[in-house]
């Protein structure tokens, strides 16, 4: 006798005579990590797709119950490992919200600087991986060449290329070394020359457009129903960005910064004059738009980096002092969502008066973004599954925690 409750929506049930059940992953070059997608196909046509996750689950939330707030920062690095700075910020801010702490001016600008550089780095990987999924290997190398420069900057600032442990509760770990700002300036100038190259080889390429336009169209209602956030949501036409619309403790960081929220309004994107136009075949909410939003956001982040550098130079205060390692957390809970490169990352911390939190909860943006995969892949071809996964830009470290 079986005690399992069979979910009638399972892809594996009632497989027809001429249908195949095929596993994409967990070891697969096109799934951005250890993700298994079970496809039910009729030849090349996908009738059902179901993502299976958990291959990278590392019990982060449970670990958080055994470590103090500052000790947990390196674990946040490994969530979205392509944008460690943004993950650090999310956790640091929520603990500061619980503690009622405010960091000095200089630390705020430093945080914005690092987070926006991290956003550029993350979007570069997204563009690279999407090109790679569609068979175009060269943009991967170009994007990673630029990412190497950013990662070298991070290494100079905090000693590590991928897992930074830099933005911490109370400020940042250390101030910038001498000459860092000049190097960053040089990077910004060089990177602006590279963006047209990437557009030529990806955004405006006819084959790329043929592979992504009108593929995986996500309507705004579906996006909101499934909890999609970030570029995925904005590419569907919803004008929502937490850096502008979020909680004050987060939007305070971006006070006085000028940037555009990249969401499509009336057929155009803000600030898109210097970029390739939207092709005829593309539909709002398809993979091409998701890719385009990330490209435009990269340019916005570049502007934010320049502003942050200028404001950092002008500010006088110290760059913050990390709280004690054994800082006690007051009783109560705090939840905060921040605009990470891949979407809205939420962190919750429940304190119980000791240094170690009672409960840590991480709301992962990629988890919700991935959940819409089964809706998007249905009715497409097998080759479109990788294009859609690439455009959703998920990272399994975040999905599985």
């Amino acid at each position: 006798m079986s005690f399992e409750r069979i979910d009638p929506d399972l892809v594996e049930l009632d497989v027809g005579m001429d249908e195949i059940l095929i596993n994409v992953g967990p070891q697969h070059p096109g799934t951005h990590g250890v993700l298994r997608v079970l496809l039910r196909t009729d030849g090349e046509l996908v009738l059902g797709a179901e993502p299976y996750i958990g291959y990278l689950h590392r019990c982060k939330e449970k670990i958080g119950e055994n470590l103090t707030a500052r000790q947990f920062i390196p674990y946040t690095d490994r969530l979205d490992y392509l944008a460690g700075m943004n993950m650090n910020l999310g956790w640091a801010l929520v603990v500061e919200k619980l503690l009622g702490l405010e960091v000095p001016e200089k630390a705020k600008h430093l945080r914005v600087l690092m987070c926006e550089l991290g956003r550029i780095a993350s979007h570069l990987v997204a563009a690279a991986a999407m090109g790679l999924d569609l068979g175009s290997v060269t943009p991967f190398m170009y994007c990673f060449r630029e990412r190497e420069r950013i990662v070298d900057l991070f290494e100079a600032a905090c000693g590590s290329r991928l897992t930074y442990n830099y933005i911490t509760v109370g400020g940042v770990m250390a101030d910038l070394p001498a000459g860092w700002l000049e190097r960053c300036e040089a990077f910004c100038n060089e990177f602006e020359q590279v963006i047209p190259e990437l557009h030529a080889v990806l955004t405006g390429n006819a084959i790329f457009i043929g592979r992504t336009a009108a593929i995986g169209v996500l309507s705004p209602e579906t996006a909101i129903d499934f909890g999609c956030t970030g570029p995925v949501l904005r590419a569907s036409g919803v004008d929502w960005d937490l850096r502008r619309d979020g909680e004050p403790i987060y939007t305070r960081l971006y006070d006085g910064y000028e940037f555009r929220v990249i969401a499509e309004t009336e057929g155009t994107y803000p600030g898109a004059k210097r970029h390739p136009p939207v092709p005829q075949a593309a539909v709002v909410g398809d993979s091409w738009h998701r890719f385009y939003v990330r490209m435009l956001e990269t340019v916005e982040s570049l502007g934010l980096v320049r502003q942050a550098m200028a404001r950092y130079r002008d500010s006088e205060s110290p760059c913050g002092e990390p709280v004690k390692l054994t800082q006690k957390l007051p009783k109560g809970e705090a939840y905060l969502e921040t605009e990470a490169p891949k979407g809205q990352m939420g962190f919750m911390v429940v304190g119980n008066g000791t240094a170690v939190p009672w409960r840590v909860r991480i709301r992962s943006s990629s988890f919700s973004n991935l959940s819409v995969l089964s809706e998007l892949c249905r009715g497409g071809l097998v080759a479109d599954v990788t294009a859609v996964i690439g455009s959703l830009d998920i990272v399994l470290g975040e999905v599985d925690r």
Binding site: I20, V137, R145
Partner: protein, 385 residues
């Protein structure tokens, strides 16, 4: 060579020895080409991607990298999946490689430098190269894996479909030449650059471009490599192959790339004739003597190999620049674009040769003039049919 050896031995033995020598030379060319183009691909892909490529094995340019790769592949463990159909699994790479290699039998490298001088060389090459897809289908089926099956089915659809516009494109230069004999076609393009069939008329020029597309699709290269699409199918029909078996598929692909580049060179780009008739200026022609003729042929073979190189580098360039087409887009390109275009070009070329005999530029050959050695001449000698 067989005729030369009959002076010294029994005719059948002479034929066998000649055949073995030819096979040996061609195998050297095919395998050598595979190794050389492996190195070239790594360098070309590296430079396209703003990096260097092999720089350590065998000097500053990594010349011996291909050799090292070959040794590594030979030394690998031979893994056959438990669910695989063992005899077919083992057979598949050999079918592919044999088919790709057989195309060289009728491919001339210079005037008279061909393993078998066939009157129907073009037909033979197309027919034999089409057998390569059998190896792929066998591999996909026999691997016992759904992903391999996917890749094999895509490949079957793609390669077989593209043979149609390929055949249509090939008919155009054959019609202009009046013969399927590749040696004769090559000889007709002797002289200046303008004698090349590419510049015969605008329709042939467009046909060449369509031919390139069909040929790239037919050898599963660049944007049409969805049968072995790495990021989608984890190497598709090749996923269960490793070591020497994989190396055979790889060599088959490289060999067919060179063979179709050679075919393109002879049919459209003048074959072994350079843009300027240097051999004639230097009197390196058979009329001047045996050695001079041989040197002229050597120069011609060099020309031919250079054109093959250009074709292969072009295919590599495409691969590392462009993304991959989806199977339905590949089939659309074939059936909705390549076939009508090739048919229209065939019609246009036919009308052109009728209306403007001699081609676009002065000094061309008028229609009806059949050169020596062609099938039409042989037929007319036989009885005027």
């Amino acid at each position: 060579m067989a005729e030369y050896l009959t002076q010294y031995a029994d005719p059948r033995l002479a034929n066998v020895i000649a055949a073995l020598v030819h096979c040996g030379l061609l195998l050297a060319v095919a395998v050598g080409a595979a190794a050389f183009f492996n190195w070239l691909e790594r360098k070309v892909s590296a430079r396209t991607q703003d990096r260097l490529g092999p720089t350590r094995v065998g000097g500053r340019f990594g010349w011996l990298q291909s050799l090292a790769d070959g040794i590594k592949l030979l030394a690998k463990e031979d893994v056959i999946p438990a669910g695989a159909d063992s005899p077919l699994f083992r057979l598949a790479p050999y079918v592919s490689f044999s088919a790709a290699f057989c195309a060289y039998i009728a491919l001339p490298f210079a005037d008279g430098w061909v393993a078998r001088h066939l009157n129907v060389a073009v037909l033979f090459i197309l027919a034999v190269a089409g057998l390569e897809v059998f190896g792929v289908i066998l591999a996909g089926y026999a691997s016992g894996s759904k992903w391999s099956l996917f890749g094999a089915m895509r490949e079957a659809a793609q390669v077989v479909s593209y043979k149609i516009p390929l055949a249509l494109c090939v008919v155009v230069p054959v019609m202009i030449a009046g013969t399927m004999d590749l040696v004769a076609i090559g000889n007709m393009q002797r002289g200046w650059l303008t004698n090349w069939f590419l510049f015969h008329d605008p329709f042939t020029f467009v046909t060449f471009l369509v031919f390139l597309t069909c040929v790239v699709a037919g050898v599963n290269r660049s944007s049409f490599d969805l049968a072995e699409a790495e990021s989608e199918l984890a190497a598709g029909f090749l996923s269960e192959y490793s070591g020497f078996r994989w190396a055979l598929f790889f060599m088959a692909e490289r060999a067919s790339m060179v063979a179709v580049s050679g075919l393109a060179a002879i049919l459209f780009l003048g074959g072994w004739n350079g843009p300027l008739p240097v051999a004639t200026w230097l009197h390196l022609v058979p009329e001047s003597g045996l050695l001079a003729g041989w040197l002229g042929n050597l120069l011609g073979a060099g020309n031919f190999l250079f054109k093959c190189l250009v074709g292969v580098v072009f295919m590599m360039w495409l691969r590392w620049t462009l993304p991959r087409l989806r199977i339905d887009q590949v089939m659309t390109t074939c059936l909705k674009y390549c076939v009508p275009l090739a048919a229209a070009m065939l019609l246009g070329a036919m009308l052109w040769t009728y209306a403007l005999p001699g081609g676009l530029l002065p000094g061309g050959r008028p229609i009806g003039e059949v050169p020596e050695g062609s099938a039409a001449v042989a037929a007319s000698e036989r009885g005027g049919r």
